[in-house]
């Protein structure tokens, strides 16, 4: 029963981050929102795998965190030096 409260709170957080992703005035705003959204999705994957006993989801969460990190670093590099 607690799990569903957690899922709804995380869903609210995803909606709030997506609002910032749509609204954001500049490009770094959107990138920050996307980074937060991905980290929260990692949380959701861990909780889903733990609740429904699908332990393979934890591997998915690990790889997803890795890809989020690479994406943030690449976009920061492009913001800093341009597409060179």
């Amino acid at each position: 029963m607690f799990e569903y409260v957690f899922f709804s709170l995380i869903g609210l957080g995803i909606v709030l981050s997506a609002l910032r992703l749509i609204k954001g005035p500049t490009a770094p705003d959107r990138v920050v929102a996307l980074d937060t959204l991905s980290t929260i999705t990692t949380t959701l994957l861990v909780l889903l795998g733990f609740t429904f006993k699908r332990y393979i989801y934890l591997d998915v969460a690990l790889v997803y965190a890795l890809l989020t990190f690479i994406g943030a670093i690449v976009v920061a590099r492009i913001l800093e030096k341009g597409l060179k």
């Binding site: 607690f2 409260v5 957690f6 709170l9 995380i10 609210l12 957080g13 995803i14 709030l16 981050s17 609002l19 910032r20 500049t26 490009a27 770094p28 705003d29 990138v31 920050v32 929102a33 980074d35 937060t36 980290t39 929260i40 990692t42 949380t43 861990v46 909780l47 733990f50 332990y55 934890l58 591997d59 969460a61 690990l62 965190a65 890795l66 989020t68 990190f69 943030a72 670093i73 976009v75 920061a76 590099r77 492009i78 913001l79 800093e80 030096k81």
Partner: protein
């Protein structure tokens, strides 16, 4: 008993995640948003993974959760730091009520 403690810790982590998202929506500036979102969300996911470890114990799932926690604890602040630096270099203005900009002073020196 372990279940109750674990669920309380997971609840704290989820609440931290939600507060990070509210900060992301409410703060006035890229840099304020960045620090609100990144700190809260990193702490939140660490709490969630610790809660999972407390509930399931040290089987392969728990060890995997610990590895995931260490990984996120290392990479998430690094990504945020790189993003803040990139935003500053690409010329995003600070909020008009900001007090000082030490990075700009250091660059112009």
């Amino acid at each position: 008993m372990n279940n109750i403690i674990g669920y309380i810790i997971i609840g704290i982590g989820v609440l931290f995640n939600l507060f990070g998202c509210i900060g992301l929506l409410r703060m006035p500036d890229v840099y304020c948003r960045l620090q609100a979102a990144t700190k809260c969300v990193t702490l939140g996911i660490c709490f969630v993974l610790i809660g999972v470890v407390v509930i399931v114990g040290f089987n392969p799932l728990g060890v995997k959760a610990l590895i995931c926690m260490v990984f996120i604890l290392v990479t998430s602040p690094t990504g945020a730091h790189a993003l803040a630096r990139g935003a500053h270099k690409s010329g995003v203005k600070l909020w008009k009520k900001s007090v000082c900009d030490k990075y700009k002073d250091k660059e112009s020196k």
